[in-house]
Amino acid sequence: MSASAGAAGARRRRRDAAGTLRRWGGRLLVLALLAYVLVPVLVACVAAFDTRAVTAFPPRDLTLRWFAQALAYEDFRAGAANGAIVSLAASTLALAIGAAAAYAIDRYRFPGRRFLEALLAAPLIVPHFVLGLGALILVASAGLPRGFALVIAVHVVLVLPFVIRSVHISLRNADRRLEDAAMALGARPWRVLWTVTLPSLAPGLAGGWLFAAVLSFNEFTASLFVTSQRTQTLPVAMYNYVREYADPSMAALSALYILATAALLILADRLIGLGRVLGTEHAEGGHAGG
């Protein structure tokens, strides 16, 4: 009897050892993958402080002069300003259009609903260079200028799927019974929409808007086709810089960019719960059907 208890104990110990090994193996794997994701980003940040005029590793002496140079560079300044205009306008427009569309697609049945849904999601699959070239050909053959309106319109189309997805997740998690209750108590449709539905969609709306703004600010391939010297956005300016110069100004700008983005995301995670907006986490108490 004591022999069999000893054997069971040995078996349990062996299983515990295997479990520990697996857990640590898993942790190491995740750490290695996180390193793959983060190391290039960190390396670019470190390179920004090197004194040498050609980006090299490891840095010898440290300086802040590339940050000053990046911030003073005319194309970067203009690109940031243009990018701010474009991304603010495009994300706000996309939020209005996308939220309305998500609501209609989620709540109503109407002819062409599936078709509309597919067309709105198409920019996820259609390569950006195809849409960029198409937009360029459109304005060129119509004799229209390559102004801000063109860039904003293209960006709206490109970020719409993300807004729709974000609002859609919120709509599915929203409690419909509250709307029914408001309706039963005699509230008019607009009032229900404004005082019940919209507030319950707030995380999705905020998340979708933020997503759209950040994606638009960073959009590169289509922008390369549809921007002119006057409307050039920051990624296009950065790309042109990398093609011509090898100094660490670009590393300095990347470092600032990374800092700002990380701060924004951490803030967003605190305020609206990034996981919920991305659908990687269930909202508690909602009706998250599969």
Partner: protein
Amino acid sequence: MRNDRPFLRWFVTPAALAAAGTVAMLAAILQYALRAHVPGSLEPGGFTLANFATLLRPLYAGVFLDTVLICLMTAAFSLLAAYPLAYALVRARRRWVRSLVLIASVTPLFLGEVVRTYAWLVVLGGNGFVNGTLRALGLIERPLPLMFTRTGVLLALVHVTLPVVVIMLAAGLAHVDRTLERAAQALGAGPVRTFLTVTLPLSLPGVVAGLTTAFAWTFSAFATPQIIGGGKVNLVSNLVYSLGLASFNFPFAAALSAAGLALTALALALLGGALRPLARLGRAAP
């Protein structure tokens, strides 16, 4: 009678206009693809099929084949790298670990292609992070050729698609019913067997979504192959750019785009078809 769709027209019209914009862009591509190129002019000539005939030349056909191959490899590697991250993101017991993995794997998504590609330039360059470190350690004398190679381009492309695959997989994993895993374990299945027979099959819809998105994104990538590939590794996007914006041959660039789009659609349909039994397997389980 009460109107049960009070906002229909107001809500659908703007979206329909945006969708019409997409259609117009694609129609412009198709229309130009069928026109002749007049050298030195932005105006296209008469209707012709010559552009599509030129596509079949080995030079262009080779780029298409290469592009599909690189897209498939990127999708496969992204999936392998993303699964453990997504698993940790959904299943880690401590909230700060989940937040850390989420922020770390999502931040690069919001840096854009240019900043990330530049970061890889600093990592892979002759005086970059990898070569500089290896040389400082005395492991190599001459820098390894990492730039302008397919390996370098793949490393950077996987890095670009990884975050979005992590998000899609995590969304799939978040929907997996944990009670099924507990049931499997209560019936005596070990952790590995539970994962392989319960968790993995149930997460397959996320796998399919991740694979197809990675494929489409890679097809769309431009800055990464342009900068890291440096003309040695060309994708369809690089050809379209050099023909459209450098040589102003809009009709041929449009034909390349149209063929690229058709190829993406075909590849996604094939991929979707091949993966559908898998996805159904995942969904069939209650």
